[in-house]
């Protein structure tokens, strides 16, 4: 066994060996009826760790995020954002509004361990594929409904998106400088945070089912997930006042802020405890401050007024040092400091590549790309990307034949009746221009059922 701790950890956590290790959720089947971000990432977590994800889309429409890209940016006729949210999934297209379509979805739900949906509250119930209908034919099902405010209560039908949930939860008022513009949490935090909360809920339910054999309904409300992160409720209870936005100061940690360095970079600093504070003052040559009681006592240091004096001193010190100097002093002396990084730095970051949270992945259909990888490293059952997305309906034959034992003739009939379907000839939905579908063995799957 290596002597050095970090050699040991590398030997067990290195993601480059992930392909040879087990998958925690192998054998778990997930029917993913969701679209855009919030629901799809619930299924994404499960898929990263080995579950079989069957994503059902509307023929010739598909997940809205396929065509709703950023800056009209497409990559090989696909939306790169959509690619990043839906790896390792099987893509089938069924029209739920036709009776036979509904039946097919129920047949798939019957054979699934988990169903994920993020339609408006009540819509899946109205279509006959909701929890009450699926649990009748599959009592052990774990059914997660994701919506803005939850499946019951006066606001249940109220519309939601990431930003709307941020507004209805109060979180929208907390970012920005006091007295100036309020800002949203970026890049759809209001979808991704509730999304991982939903995945956590499904994992909890899978554990419970493993112990008891019981399935259940999970009612995941976007706004409630955001409210779970807010200190305001207890703060209001104790002080009678609300917590307002505080710019770059974390009022719980002083000194704290984002400061400009001598070489015009931005550095974040936030001091969590007395030891770190003493280290920081030492490097600043401001040991004098610690001798005064209002600075030495943690709670006094956090009070308004005192906090400003300390932050001012840090601001002036940072302005006289380069980013490199500050980070190396932070490492030597043990206080939290970090560069404010940008997208391009993250994309090229060697550390993230080594961790596996950013991966260069070569896909059979799309070739090489750089993608967000697995956000949590695991020793025995590491997550992994196995394939990217596929055009709408790409796995129709593969799934319907293999799982439901439907014959080629029946599939042709379903196609004719428009119960199942494929992509429209639109960018975001169709295969990459160079790809030959006619010879693709999965798209033209001719095998039979595996009866599991």
């Amino acid at each position: 066994m290596p002597d050095n701790y970090f050699d040991f950890t590398k030997s067990i956590l290195d993601p480059s060996t992930a392909g040879q290790k087990s998958e925690a959720l192998k054998g778990i089947r997930v029917l993913d009826l969701s679209r855009v971000i919030y629901g799809p990432v619930v299924a994404k977590w499960l898929g990263l760790f080995g579950a079989e994800i069957i994503k059902v889309e509307e023929p010739e429409e598909g997940d809205n995020w396929r065509t709703g890209t950023y800056w009209a940016k497409y990559w090989k006729d696909s939306c790169p954002y959509f690619q990043s949210l839906n790896p390792n999934k099987y893509f089938i297209a069924i029209d739920v509004k036709l009776p036979r379509g509904r039946e097919l979805i129920l047949e798939l739900a019957k054979k699934s361990d988990v169903v994920v949906e993020n339609f408006r509250a009540g819509l899946v119930e109205a279509w006959g594929i909701g929890y009450t209908q699926v649990s009748k034919i599959n009592p052990k099902v774990i059914y997660i409904s994701c919506c803005g405010y939850g499946q019951y209560g006066p606001l249940k039908f109220f519309p939601s998106w990431d930003l709307i949930a941020q507004s209805m939860s109060g979180v929208a008022r907390l970012t920005g400088f006091p007295g100036r513009d309020t800002y949203k949490l970026q890049d759809y935090y209001g979808d991704f945070f509730p999304g991982i909360c939903g995945a956590m809920g499904v994992m909890a339910a899978l554990n419970y089912r493993e112990r008891t054999g019981k399935g259940q309904l999970i009612d995941m409300a976007q706004a409630e997930a955001l409210m779970r992160t807010m200190l305001n409720w207890i703060y209001i209870s104790v002080t009678g006042k609300d917590l307002e936005r505080t710019g770059n100061v974390d009022p719980s940690m002083i000194p704290s802020g984002i400061f400009k360095t001598k070489d015009s970079n931005f550095v974040g600093i936030a001091i969590a405890n007395d030891k770190q504070f003493a280290s920081m003052l030492k490097v600043m040559n401001r040991g004098d401050l610690v001798e005064q009681e209002e600075f030495a006592d943690t709670f006094k240091r956090l009070q308004e007024g005192t906090a400003e004096i300390i932050n001012k001193a840090v601001e002036e010190w940072v302005a006289c040092h380069t980013l490199g100097e500050i980070l190396s002093l932070a490492q030597q002396n043990g206080f939290p400091a970090a560069e404010v990084k940008n997208d391009w730095q993250l994309t090229n970051d060697k550390w993230r590549r080594e961790r596996g949270s950013v991966v260069e992945f070569e896909d059979d259909m799309y070739g090489k790309g750089i993608w967000p990888g697995v956000p949590v490293a695991m020793e025995k059952t590491p997550g992994r990307i196995k394939w990217l997305t596929r055009p709408i309906g790409y796995h129709n034959r593969y799934i319907l034949k293999k799982l439901l034992g439907i014959s080629e003739d029946e599939i042709k009939q379903l196609e004719k009746e428009r119960v199942i379907g494929y992509w429209a000839n639109r960018v975001g939905q169709r295969p990459p221009y160079y790809y030959d579908m006619q010879t693709d063995p999965v798209f033209n799957y001719s095998g039979g059922t595996n009866n599991d």
Binding site: P159, D187, A221
Partner: protein, 448 residues
């Protein structure tokens, strides 16, 4: 319109039929019974014992709290003087020396003290971990290993142990080793995740033009929930195979690793995004504006939604302008500012409630449209937390729990999420005294 029918606005034609309405009324009743009543329900992991060791890092503290809400027996082990996180609190507000975040995340936990600087303390911890299923190590990477109770030592005799490591740069890679002495904070984790870089207005005067951090502990909460999802995944594997493992969460990597758009953007555009004020990078309008009487939030980004909005605002003239019709994206911020100026002018003419009602009614009417071409622009109040507390919906769902504590009296904390019909996470107690459970836990686990 009568008030009753206004309350029941629905926004999909599939929800309007009498039969569906009846079914949904029944479903609602079923849910209130199933979700509203959590007494006597099962617990997800009440067979699991968790030892939490955190040093000034709320990522570990929150992860442990969530596992406790799912029913695990969570024992937080602190040094005799306490985890310094007890003093991390806004403006120094505290109850008997304990800060509000620590109180809020002490849900269902036991608190004991141990002096790991002494042989007796280390023996006790070793003995305690020997009887545990999950160890949360949110201390400095390599610290427990140096005490002889890290994963590589524990794993020799305990193949079923799950070891959850939480730290800024993780417990492996060259960078983790070279930066191991930099402690964790939410703000620095946000910075390393590239998050503040995206927020702010570069045209504002200094320092308001700086990158702006999120006003919640965005990195700590994301890290904590990822850590719990990972732990539950590892527990599921253990239930099937008996095998434990090490899990590694880097708080500096949580937001960027999970949200991932930063990486996608970097891959396709080969440059960083810059701050663009209140614009979104994909959608417009999608942001906060001011109505006559306060902030509103507007989301109307698809072409249909956008058209709906200009119809409601009686600004159909904008539809003729090719610049806005198909191409409302942030690659040309000045163009968007022109359009935004028009919107700002219009929004200022109405009260918040006027805009909310107009758009909701439009959405409900549009839902019945056969061609589904009317769109659904959404305007809501950008609520303050105090306003959120007045919303009846959260009371019906008990989204914010009121708990009782001998020193604090009654106070509010966010309730456990998500709602689950068979084994809901929930709050049993909140207590946070330093070493409060020493006697109980020392006795139960045979510690000295």
């Amino acid at each position: 319109m009568t008030e009753k029918s206004e309350k029941q606005l629905v926004f999909s034609k599939h929800l309007t039929s009498k039969a569906t309405q009846n079914h949904l009324a029944e479903f609602d009743k079923l849910l209130v019974g199933m979700m509203g009543n959590v007494e006597n329900k099962g617990w997800v992991i009440d067979d699991i014992k968790v030892i939490e060791l955190s040093d000034s890092s709320f990522a570990g503290i929150i992860a442990a709290a969530i596992l406790a809400e799912f029913g695990a027996e969570v024992i937080k082990v602190e040094p005799p003087e306490g985890d310094p996180a007890r003093k991390i609190t806004p403006y120094g507000i505290n109850i008997n020396g304990v800060g509000l975040p620590f109180i809020m995340e002490s849900k269902n936990k036991y608190h004991i003290t141990m002096d790991l600087k002494t042989d007796a303390g280390r023996d006790n911890l070793s003995k305690l971990i020997g009887q545990a299923d999950v160890v949360i190590d949110a201390t400095k990477p390599g610290y427990l290993d140096s005490l002889g109770i890290g994963y590589r030592q524990l794993n020799r005799s305990r193949k079923d142990l799950i070891y959850l490591a939480i730290s800024p740069f993780g417990h492996f890679t060259g960078k983790a080793e070279s930066m191991f002495n930099i402690p964790d904070s939410d703000l620095t984790a946000q910075c390393e995740s590239g998050y503040p870089y995206l927020t702010g207005d570069p045209k504002a005067p200094e320092p308001y033009n700086y990158p702006i951090k999120a006003g919640i502990w965005a990195a700590w909460y994301m890290s904590a929930v990822l850590a719990v999802a990972g732990t539950l995944t590892a527990l599921f594997h253990r239930r099937r195979t008996g095998e434990g493992q090490m899990i590694d969460v880097a708080t500096n990597d949580a937001i960027s690793g999970w949200q991932g758009f930063q990486i996608v953007w970097g891959f396709t555009n080969e440059m960083p995004r810059v701050r663009v004020g209140n614009f979104d990078w994909c959608l417009f309008p999608y942001g906060y504006y001011e109505a006559k009487d306060g902030y509103i939030t507007v989301a109307a980004s698809s072409d249909a939604d956008f058209r709906g909005l200009i119809k409601i605002l009686k600004r159909w003239d904008l539809e003729n302008d090719w610049r806005f019709l198909l191409d409302r994206i942030t690659d040309d911020v000045d163009k968007l500012r022109d359009l935004e100026k028009e919107f700002k002018k219009e929004f200022a003419k109405y009260t918040r409630q006027e805009l909310v009602k107009k758009t909701l009614q439009y959405g409900a009417d549009g839902a019945r449209d056969k061609l589904r071409s009317k769109g659904f622009p959404i305007v809501v109040e950008t609520r303050t937390p105090a306003e959120v507390l007045k919303e009846k919906h959260w009371k019906v769902r008990k989204s914010i729990a009121e708990v009782e504590h001998p020193q604090l009296g009654r106070f509010m904390v966010p309730n456990s999420i998500p709602k689950m019909s068979e084994s809901p996470p929930r709050i049993k107690w909140i207590r946070f005294g330093l070493g409060e459970d020493n006697e109980l836990i020392y006795k139960k686990y045979g510690l000295k």
